[in-house]
Symmetry: C2
Subunit: 383 residues, 2 copies
């Protein structure tokens, strides 16, 4: 039975100052510990996880922001006999499961840190002869079918053949908290995910437009649960704002075509108030320029004007198809496309060229601020 560890590599953290780097590494380890209850070591810029449940660990690590790649590895002492013995068992298992065969060409990729009485090349040649001894496979250093990595770090040697891609990004919780406007559509969950991936703790804010929508929370709760799989320790929160009364007022008292602009402006203003309470420093949304009627430059300007907090729109430069591809990858797409009622407050011809002074004047006229205060005071914590 081989002793197994998982070697975890992290990326951008590496280029930061020693102080920042230390903070990021500790946070990443905390986040991993929140999900994987195993022994975790940090050594020379790598994280080593001594896991009891390899499958669970692999599945979990793939969802933790800040990890660039990871490799399940077998570990032994750094000496020729132990390494030979380990490779024989390791390759034996791969041959048994059909991952590697005598038909495959192979290469040994050997790296070494520390003082040893052999060079990396010498050890690579030695390991190559061990593999050849088992399978009589051909060596091909340029385009091998199979690569075996032998990493020697001091008196420990790690052998592995897989580099599994992680999410990249930064550990959740290293960048402070943001408030994210999340509907059950395709875009806003993707925007939320991207900011979690960049290290933000996120407070999701969902607007319930009942009676202009069904008011059902089923989809948003499913989306919350999916996004929560990526939060790894940075507590993901979900608030809901009752928004129907304000929409009613917009429809009743303002020009019909302005409803969507007044709706969006209100969302930002309410999000800012919630952000203040949550000590959040920015608002996130799923805007993608030109994708729908409300996402023109004049509308972006007019709807954000009354908010002094930065609105960050990570999808602003992406195409619908690019956004959908991310949604499919992270598993929110299939939830977002579940059948749902469209918002019946949307007018037949929504404003696409909002006039800023008119928007400000209308917000004043319908006494929007009072509605926003009311909405914030009735906000519910769903998760």
């Amino acid at each position: 039975m081989l002793e197994k560890v998982i070697i975890v590599r992290y990326g951008e953290i590496g280029i930061k100052s020693p102080k920042v780097r230390g903070r990021f590494e500790r946070k990443l380890i905390d986040n991993i510990k929140n999900v994987i209850n195993d022994e975790i070591d940090l050594k020379q810029g790598r994280i080593y996880i001594h896991t009891h449940d390899l499958d669970w660990a692999i599945e979990s690590l793939a969802n933790i922001p800040g990890i660039v790649s990871f490799s399940p590895a077998a570990v032994t002492k750094t000496n020729h006999d132990s390494i030979k013995e380990l490779i024989e068992v390791y390759i034996g298992e791969l041959v048994h499961e059909g991952t590697f065969s005598s038909q495959d060409s192979f290469a040994i990729r050997c790296r070494r840190v520390g003082e040893h009485d052999f060079s990396s090349q010498e050890m690579a040649a030695y390991c190559g002869s061990v593999v050849y001894g088992i399978t009589q496979s051909k060596v091909d250093l340029s385009h091998p079918d199979f690569e075996l990595y032998v990493e020697i770090r001091g008196n420990k040697t790690y052998v592995f053949h897989q580099k599994i891609a992680g999410l990249g990004g930064l550990p959740v919780g290293t960048q402070g908290r943001v408030v994210s406007l999340v509907s059950s559509g395709i875009d806003s969950p993707v925007a939320t995910f991207l900011m979690m991936k960049r290290g933000c703790s996120v407070t999701m804010v969902n607007f319930n437009n009942h009676p202009y929508t069904s008011g059902s929370n089923e989809k948003i709760l499913k989306i919350y649960n999916k996004l929560n799989e990526y939060s790894a320790g940075g507590k993901l929160r979900l608030y809901q704002v009752d928004y129907g009364e304000y929409l009613h007022k917009c429809i009743d008292e303002a020009p019909e075509r302005m409803t969507c602009v007044l709706c969006k402006s209100g969302m930002y203003q309410i999000a800012e108030k919630i952000a203040d309470k949550e000590n959040a420093l920015a608002i996130i949304d799923g805007s993608s320029l030109g994708q729908v009627a409300s996402q023109t430059l004049p509308n972006v300007l007019a709807t954000r004007y009354s908010t002094s907090m930065p609105v960050l729109s990570p999808l602003i430069g992406l195409d619908k198809v690019e956004i959908e591809n991310i949604a499919k990858k992270i598993g929110t797409y299939e939830l977002s496309i579940l059948p749902d009622s469209d918002c019946s407050a949307v007018p037949r011809h929504p404003e696409t060229n909002a006039d800023l002074p008119l928007v400000l004047e209308t917000l004043e006229k319908i006494n929007a601020e009072q509605e926003f205060e009311k909405a914030v005071s009735s906000v519910k914590l769903l998760k």
Copy 2:
């Protein structure tokens, strides 16, 4: 000699209202005409280019935002004999150049719009027999090595085998003008490209930090020229602001660690003034959260606070490696990494947790507004 046309497909435009769609289609055709001086038709949701220079047209179309894919096609009349004749020549050429051989399995993909006395399936079977007659290749509808597309539109039939990917996005000029802060680094040219791809006309604003940098314009002009390849008709402008004097003032009169925050805040404020003159509606920058010291949430908040125009940061949710990959794809990467002087105004320990009241107070104290006015009045149009 076959009559050749290029069939151009566009994507998101298709899902818009008929009025918006018409405007977008006309803009896309205008943009193509700006680059390719050929006869261009619009028919049933496709653009057909009758080109004199196929290679140039292919190279150009790949760089025009709003195009999803395009296919160089041979065209003939819609009748069995003409189609047979065309396929014989078309396949003959492909066999001659080695693109298709008798070893390759193949499939005919036939689509038909209009009234004809045959079905798509019948025509596909007929074309298949023509190809078989030439190469005796095996038909494989599920996983063919080679696909031949036969598109029948009324009395014209188009035959092609390639679908070349375009940039996607929206035609430049359909989304109004933005001002983009562009340095000669890796990120901001990518941000600029993404917003051009989303249909924006762009005014680039470059800050010349001389004497804290070399003051050379070589790199920024190269980057301008590269980005201009994607502007297809939406005039790309490049302004330069002399910024050394303001930086000198920051270093002289404000706490050392605040230089970068004051620098960035000034860039936004000057960009807003230029945007007003240019009738632009938003500011673009290359911020990526957490990538460097100035890109923390507190700094984003503090540096944007004095600007009322929206700041759109299309890279805010991307990793460095993702940004670099786009830069490599669009050809700005190799320009951005050319050797250049670092900015010597950057302090040893730049502020990472900017205090908003202190930033506002300091801007006031150093009379920044006056410096910004001066900088704007001396702005130079480089391109």
